[in-house]
């Protein structure tokens, strides 16, 4: 080492001070930033920018093909007194709540069933996925026919069985309340497989030895579920229900293909109302305002599951955090 240092020619220019650019190039902390940059650019371009643009538009009176003027909260002030918007808001919440709860109950039940040793297990598990695989528009059209006021197969069956009179069919899609029930039913049908299959995957990660130990301690089937399965499944439930609530809250295709928000705007969700006002009606600012109004609810749903369901206390069923 010393020799090498002595042998160095004295004429060598003094060591250059590293410039800011050099630091940016080689500094390890900055290196991390450089590696993140492509992903960040991607997110900014496709997530932050559209969201920001949507937020900006909700404060303008933009129309299709024309930039808007800034109008402050005018769009929101208008909407809060708009009976269709308020109804859509309430229905979206009811829709999300009812559909998610039922989907969860049936999905969990299905998952527990499928977790047993059944004959043709693989086949049955894939059959369960069918509602999820069929394109939404196709299944919506099928439901549309099933619940058509004139041509409903249910009405037809009831008429053939002599239960109802041909002249007074059930007004499935024409009656606001029934139409609301129908779209909730269709959403439930479509959403169950996602929950069932994901929870099934969660169930399979539970070690059988835990059940053995619990059974040796004299646990009943219910206690097995309550104190072994459920606590271990909670993280998965949190994730699944977050996604389920988000998907349900933002549902669009199903409603649009089945009812277009009718009859008399009874089945409009916020997403469909936003499209109706923004794109078809041409009032982009108002459409954006409706879409932005969904954000607080979505954030609340995410907060609830991440800060609530993710806590260890909830997961373990004990006070150990």
């Amino acid at each position: 080492m010393t020799d090498a240092a002595l042998a160095r020619p004295p004429a060598r220019p003094p060591v250059r001070e590293p410039t800011a650019w050099d630091q940016l190039k080689v500094n390890r902390n900055w290196l991390g930033f450089w590696f993140m940059l492509p992903a960040m650019a991607f997110l900014v371009l496709f997530l932050v920018y559209p969201l920001g643009k949507g937020l900006w538009m909700s404060f303008t009176d933009a129309r299709i093909g024309r930039e808007g003027r800034f109008v402050g909260l005018e769009n929101f002030e208008w909407l809060i007194e708009d009976s269709d918007f308020v109804r859509a808001l309430v229905f979206t919440i009811v829709f999300t709540f009812v559909a998610s709860a039922v989907k969860f109950a049936i999905g969990l039940y299905l998952a527990l069933l499928l977790n047993n040793n059944l004959p043709f297990k693989a086949f049955i598990r894939s059959v369960v996925l069918i509602p999820f695989i069929v394109p939404t528009v196709l299944s919506a059209v099928a439901f549309w026919w099933i619940f058509d006021t004139q041509f409903s197969v249910i009405t037809w069956g009831l008429v053939k069985m002599g239960i109802i009179d041909r002249g007074s069919p059930i007004n499935w899609m024409g009656d606001p309340f029934l139409a609301q029930c129908v779209v909730i039913f269709a959403n439930i049908w479509r959403g169950i497989p996602f929950i069932a299959i994901t929870l099934l995957a969660g169930l399979q990660t539970v070690s059988p030895s835990l059940y053995e130990a619990a059974t040796l301690d004299g646990a009943t089937k219910w206690q097995n579920f309550r104190y072994v399965t459920y606590p271990l499944l909670t993280p998965i439930i949190a994730v699944v229900m977050t996604f389920s609530v988000l998907f349900t809250f933002t549902d669009f295709q199903l409603i649009w293909a089945m009812t277009r928000g009718g009859p008399v705007n009874a089945t409009h969700l916020m997403a469909t109302l936003s499209y109706q006002r923004g794109i078809l009606g041409g009032n982009l600012g108002e459409g954006a305002a409706i879409a932005i109004s969904m954000v607080p609810f979505l954030l609340a749903a995410i907060m609830f599951s991440w800060f609530g369901l993710q806590r260890r206390k909830w997961q373990q069923g004990e006070n150990n955090d």
Binding site: I64, G65, Q150, P169, M173, R260, V264
Partner: protein, 438 residues
């Protein structure tokens, strides 16, 4: 499906031979020589049109396009979009200054950006002079600030469709031509167990036609000439009360109907009367099913009845065509518009459309399509009996928004379904109209 045999192939080839050697090309060449509208040399046009709903109409249109290219050397690329997508595309094109040279759209689209539309007063005057003048509706749709900005090529008419035998059974020989008598008819039809049905759901064509007729025939309108909202009026109240009485005679479920529900209900014999274009009849007549052909034989069409306003008050779907100012070939645009409306082109095209489309130039009243089948006759008048969209206000984007948002349809749907009383339904509509027309 027809099986292909040698014979059909020979026939087809013979037919093709006749067409290619037909007079259309020769005439087109002569036209190109004599016409006051000469395309720029080397011009190419991009045309965006609404997607056809009659195949024969599209085929005939393409023949005109081919003849135009042969005669003038100007190539025309035709692309089509569904009804709902033409307007957004046209708006973006107008906004960015690039896109199709010619756009063939619906209702009031050119009035969204009149300053971006090529002035075509010379073409309109030329055609008007040559073909017996334009109907008033054409001027409403075609003119902006005294200048023609589009050529209204055709309208799609919608009228009362009814079953002759069911009307007879209810004690009527024809559809009464006043709103009062019409209500009696619908009551009688319901009593006989063969009710009528009009859509009050998300039916862009048939729902708007029904609701606007209810409103306008009673002398009501959403705005006046100065765009002041006038929906809160005694006339609207009368229209709502009438609508409710009529609604009570309908088959259940029409609040959920879209544009195809009434076609299906009519063709399955569930309803005796509805409003539609000629498509129910055309489909039934051309059907393989003997039952459907029986329905075609047993049905006919009638005008919308006239209400307290004392004159026809209908809304029919207009199809205006316009050139864009950014086009590098404005003369080719004009030549093309003039070309397709010349009798040699327009008459066969109107026939190919089988009554779905109605002219706005008076001379085409004599087209054989209106006399060959008496059941198509009422559709000849649709351009003459129609009010423009947004009546009594001007045709503009506000009128287009009011239609797109189903304001008038929902006015009646809200009251008929019992969701709102008369005052409540008016209040909802008035609030929305005030925002649109602010």
């Amino acid at each position: 499906m027809t099986a292909f045999t040698r014979r059909t192939l020979v026939k087809g080839a013979a037919a093709a031979g006749v067409l290619s050697g037909s007079g259309l090309t020769d005439w087109a060449r002569a036209w190109a020589q004599a016409s006051p509208f000469k395309p720029e040399t080397g011009a190419t046009l991009n045309l965006l049109r609404w997607r056809r709903f009659v195949e024969a109409e599209d085929a005939q249109f393409n023949k005109m396009v081919a003849a135009f290219t042969q005669a003038t050397g100007c190539r025309v690329n035709v692309s089509s979009e569904s009804f709902d997508d033409v307007q957004p595309k046209a708006s973006v094109a107008a906004n960015t200054g690039t896109g199709p040279d010619l756009i063939w759209s619906l209702y009031s689209v050119p009035h969204l950006f009149p300053q971006k539309c090529l002035e075509v007063t010379d073409v309109a005057d030329y055609l008007g002079k040559k073909y017996g003048g334009w109907v008033p509706l054409a001027e409403a749709y075609g003119k902006s600030a005294g200048k023609w900005i589009s050529i209204p090529v055709a309208v799609n008419g919608g009228y009362i469709n009814y079953r002759v035998s069911m009307l007879k059974a209810a004690g009527f020989n024809e559809v009464p031509q006043d709103t009062k008598g019409f209500l009696e008819l619908c009551k009688a039809l319901k009593a006989k167990g063969t009710p009528s049905g009009f859509p009050l759901g998300r039916a862009t064509g048939d729902g708007n036609a029904f609701a606007h007729w209810l409103l306008w025939s009673h002398g009501a309108a959403q705005v006046d000439e100065q765009e002041k909202v006038t929906i809160n009026s005694p006339e609207t109240r009368a229209a709502l009360r009438y609508a409710k009485e009529l609604w009570d005679t309908f088959i259940p479920g029409t609040a959920a109907w879209n544009d195809s529900n009434n076609n299906r209900a009519f063709l399955s014999g569930e309803i005796s009367l509805t409003a539609n274009g000629i498509s129910i009849y055309a489909a039934a007549k051309a059907s393989q099913d003997a039952k459907q052909r029986e329905i075609a034989a047993d049905m006919d069409h009638a005008f919308w009845p006239i209400g307290p306003i004392g004159k026809p008050a209908e809304i029919q779907l207009a199809f205006p065509m316009f050139g864009m100012t950014y086009s590098r070939f404005p003369n080719a645009c004009k030549a093309f518009m003039a070309f397709i409306l010349e009798a040699e082109n327009f008459n066969p095209w109107l026939e190919a459309a089988q009554g779905y489309l109605t002219h706005l130039l008076n001379a085409y009243d004599n087209n054989p399509v209106w006399t060959a089948d008496p059941k198509a006759k009422v559709f000849r008048e649709s351009a003459k009996r129609s009010f423009p969209a947004g009546y009594r206000g001007p045709i503009n984007e506000k009128a287009a928004t009011a239609i797109a948002d189903f304001i008038v349809v929902d006015l009646f749907a809200n009251h008929c379904t019992g969701k709102e009383d008369v005052e409540g339904a008016i209040r909802v509509a008035e609030r929305q109209l005030r925002r649109i027309y602010r």
